[in-house]
Symmetry: none
Subunit: 121 residues, 4 copies
Amino acid sequence: MVWKFTGDRPVYQQIMTLVRGAVLRGEYRPGEKIPSVRELATAAKVNPNTVQRALSELEREGVLISCGTMGRTITQDETVMSQMRQNIETELAAQCAEQFRNMGIDLKQAAELLLRMAEEE
Amino acid sequence: MVWKFTGDRPVYQQIMTLVRGAVLRGEYRPGEKIPSVRELATAAKVNPNTVQRALSELEREGVLISCGTMGRTITQDETVMSQMRQNIETELAAQCAEQFRNMGIDLKQAAELLLRMAEEE
Amino acid sequence: MVWKFTGDRPVYQQIMTLVRGAVLRGEYRPGEKIPSVRELATAAKVNPNTVQRALSELEREGVLISCGTMGRTITQDETVMSQMRQNIETELAAQCAEQFRNMGIDLKQAAELLLRMAEEE
Amino acid sequence: MVWKFTGDRPVYQQIMTLVRGAVLRGEYRPGEKIPSVRELATAAKVNPNTVQRALSELEREGVLISCGTMGRTITQDETVMSQMRQNIETELAAQCAEQFRNMGIDLKQAAELLLRMAEEE
DNA sequence: GTGGTCTAGACCACT
DNA sequence: GTGGTCTAGACCACG
């Protein structure tokens, strides 16, 4: 996991994105325990409160499950997971689409570019 | 044109991107005069020197042509234009691809998402 | 019996309330012996002196009868019992009434809510 | 508005309850602006961050509407308001019911006590 | 050791 | 002046 932040969005939101990514990539698996607030804060060189807020929000979303004093685990609820995956897909796609449009690039052409990159791998 | 900057990259580079976008979108047309450094600086609420640097770099790339004391115009050189277009395409595609991969999303699926968005328009 | 205390009132008063509740619910019956100060203190994870004070006060009220070295029993005096019952009823009702009023809820409506809950049981 | 807190629940939750109460009592009216975070914090002798959290949560519930840098107002959405009113009614009723039951008092009798208090007013 | 809450004080963007 | 975010450091309850 790469901990690097930009100044254009709240850090706690960027942490949320990073964690969601780790889950979707399968780096953190459903039912698995994630590192403690303090560990993450140390790794990210960020105040524990900031991590705390990020994880609380993810809990509210149902992505993380609080085990009280036993830490937090990734949800095993398939509904929540696919919901999140879908949200992120559309959100990301919309972001990219806007960037392409801003550069006057047709979305069909953009899609082809991505396909070509997919084949090159 | 929307002038808004984030703190994670030098402002002059962000201005370059904005101008390139305006050219590619056809907002600025080949051979056309672009606003003066001062006008742009005022509009962007930025120090004129910053705009100056951005435009100089674009000149070096051949995108802008200096007309001495008569301001700057967009190049009419097709080679330069298509070069820039291609650079931006691949750069943007690479960026998006990385984001999708970070979220564990297959590039082929990402391409489909963009296609779907293209059709919805 | 659930032993849990809040920080907003003296613990000995909270113990008194708990004991009174146990009597009124019929958990402790008139004439019956109640557990020793030490037993209660252990169960409640509280200093024996605190329990001692609570029980002394209840003795003063006539709810508990000291049997000297033989422990304490619940009073069999019907007058005392009904007196206590009535005190608690009005006190509790007043407390609830204030809360409802604080939330802008009419007492008649509140009474109906309680009735509905009574029927649901 | 009386600002007094007990140690048995988070202060920010108690603030939420107080604000909700003020709304339901009609002390704050729909569409009306509420005092700023800093004003409330001063009045309640509490850290601004604590008030901030309470108001943010109420915003999330839809009770408060953020007007950006123009402060916050009470929602005018009837649905949200009646929803909140109902939640509080049932919650409060449940709390009272438990207390009465703990004291071995029948809920029907409790309802009568409240009715009597209603008539006395 | 865990999460959760609170305080104190700072900085930012917006208008 | 407003809300929003972040840091630093402290305390608590729970096992």
